[in-house]
């Protein structure tokens, strides 16, 4: 058994974790069988607690996800009309069980592809590689008069979803730093008929310089390793070294810390990643809680599915117990891409 210690007492988390990464035979065998870096497998055991469950996760990462689409009610009055049009083309759709305006594509045709139908070009739907991306906007649940910031916005799946939930009312500031990604974002905004949004090509961390305390809802869908998307991009089994993972961690802490500055008191920020790595998730939240006394972790309401709880212990590091209020989506449990969500409230 490892000794446990409060995370705030550990100065060098990277070394702490690295020293505790298991190098057992099971780790080696599974890493080689499934083609992963060994440190990833060692972490999965730490996260899940049994080799059987680790294998379930790894097997789930081998299964392809079905595409999902969101019917865009800014353009489509009656979603049955969209379904009919796509079914005429040969697609088979099934309503997503947690939201009736989204559909899983259970059968596809070769041509046209879902990203090139006339319906797509007209902005009647947004195309997702997995359905977990539908969940953050539903949890943030923006209202028509809200002031919303989406600080890492491209290509705009969540921005356009937020605008749809707000019925094109209120205001969204969507920032994105990448040039080509900004083009894609703008194209999606126009294609989907979104008209309540200001797009800005800027580092999202700079928003605090000109709209400090302005927003009542902020989404930070943070840039991350994408360790939840292995079924979509198997490259990610080997792409990120442990050193790089910890660099992501640092920049996520920095981004979230700046993002909180844009919130007004009583406002909420939803921090999400498409990663299952605690380093990019619970450990980021724990660092923020240690740094600041003006935010608290909120219970996730409006959750359309039952989420797994956030970790409060990782490699012997004790995290604040409220971090358990954060939510996790696992491929082997939820049959979606891996995802993390955590809602923070600005309390002063």
């Amino acid at each position: 058994m490892f000794r446990t210690i409060d995370i705030s007492e550990v100065e060098d988390i990277k070394s702490w974790i690295r020293e505790r990464l298991r190098k057992s035979e099971e780790v080696k065998v599974l890493a080689s069988k499934y083609g992963y870096r060994e440190y990833m497998i060692a972490r999965y055991y730490e996260m899940l607690g049994s080799w059987d469950e680790v294998k379930e996760l790894l097997n789930a990462f081998e299964r392809r996800l079905k595409h999902s689409i969101r019917c865009n009610t800014l353009k489509v009055k009656d979603c049955r009309h969209l379904v009919e049009r796509l079914e005429k083309l040969g697609f088979k759709l099934k309503e997503v069980d947690f939201w009736n305006l989204a559909y899983e594509v259970v059968d596809e045709v070769r041509s046209p592809t879902l990203g090139s139908t006339h319906e797509f070009l007209l902005g009647m739907y947004y195309l997702y590689r997995g359905k977990a991306s539908l969940i953050p906007p539903l949890i943030l649940n923006p209202q028509q008069n809200d002031k919303v910031a989406d600080l890492a916005a491209a290509p705009g799946g969540k921005t356009t979803h937020l605008a749809q939930l707000m019925n094109n009312k209120g205001v969204i500031l969507a920032t994105e730093v990448g040039r080509e990604r900004m083009r894609a974002l703008r194209n999606n905004i126009e294609r989907m008929g979104v008209r309540n949004t200001v797009l800005m090509r800027v580092d999202g961390r700079a928003v605090k310089y000109f709209l400090k305390g302005y927003f009542n809802k902020v989404l930070l869908d943070a840039p991350c390793t994408g360790e939840g998307l292995i079924m979509i991009d198997p490259e990610r089994k080997i792409k990120t070294s442990f050193e790089d993972l910890m660099k992501w961690h640092e920049s996520q802490v920095d981004f979230l810390n700046s993002a909180i500055e844009t919130l007004n008191v009583g406002g909420y920020i939803l921090y999400t990643t498409c990663s299952i790595a605690p380093e990019e998730n619970e450990l980021v939240i724990a660092k923020i809680l240690a740094k600041r006394d003006d935010v608290q972790v909120s219970t996730l309401t409006n959750t359309p599915i039952e989420l797994s709880q956030g970790f409060t212990e990782y490699f012997g590091l004790n995290l604040p117990k409220d971090v358990s209020r954060c939510g996790r989506i696992y491929p082997h449990i939820h049959e979606m891409e891996g995802f993390f969500l955590c809602l923070l409230e600005k309390i002063k």
């Binding site: 090139s116 006339h118 070009l121 902005g123 205001v171 008209r195 200001v198 800005m200 800027v202 709209l211």
Partner: protein, 203 residues
């Protein structure tokens, strides 16, 4: 970690102006007249950079943009994208979204041709509209005017330049004669023609 700043940022200038000013710049484009009537409370924002682009901004968005401009930054786009302004004819190339808005709110002022499915596919590959594919014509059309292109399903699929001076002229054309040349269509981004088309209709 230092915050990345956009170098291009400094070369763009955005400012608020009035419908009257926009009407002057577009030589009284019908679409702008309609917008000033249906969305009178919106402010016009013009951004000048590589292109000159116009937007319609409501009060809430204006507040956010003012904060951005006050910090010597600029928005990339905002609100309702009206289209691109030019110094020569056509003085404005309206966006598909803006044309859709006009089509929804004031159909009687909508200059357009409706085309059958067989013509729609080539149009979405950037091809011109031929007489053979036109099923309906919504006047007034003038040679050189920007018009909407509607599919048989009633959706706006793009923007074209009229080659005819009125709808009756269409009837007199041969099936393969061009009724309108493709300026912009909803397939444009997918085809990856961003740069090419942008250059072609540069101010």
């Amino acid at each position: 970690m230092s915050i990345r700043e956009d170098k291009v940022a400094k070369e763009i200038k955005c400012y608020f102006t009035t419908y009257d000013e926009l009407l002057k710049k577009t030589f009284n484009a019908l679409e702008i007249l309609v917008a000033s009537e249906v969305l009178p409370k919106h402010t016009v924002m013009i951004c000048e950079g590589e292109f000159v682009e116009a937007y319609l901004i409501n009060e809430e968005l204006k507040h956010v943009i003012e904060a951005i401009l006050a910090n010597n930054r600029f928005p990339y786009s905002a609100g309702i994208y009206v289209g691109r302004l030019r110094k020569s004819k056509p003085y404005i190339i309206p966006s598909v979204d803006f044309l859709t808005l006009i089509y929804e709110l004031k159909r009687e002022y909508f200059k357009a041709v409706k085309i059958r499915d067989e013509g729609l596919k080539p149009f979405l590959y950037g091809k011109d509209v031929l007489k053979a594919s036109v099923t309906e014509c919504f006047p007034p059309l003038n040679n050189g005017d920007v018009i909407g292109v509607i599919g048989n399903d009633g959706y706006v699929y793009g923007v074209a330049l009229s080659k005819v001076s009125d709808c009756n002229e269409v009837l007199k054309l041969n099936p393969n004669d061009v009724v309108a040349t493709n300026v912009f269509d909803v397939g444009w981004f997918l085809r990856g023609e961003t740069r090419v088309k942008e250059k072609k209709f540069k101010v």
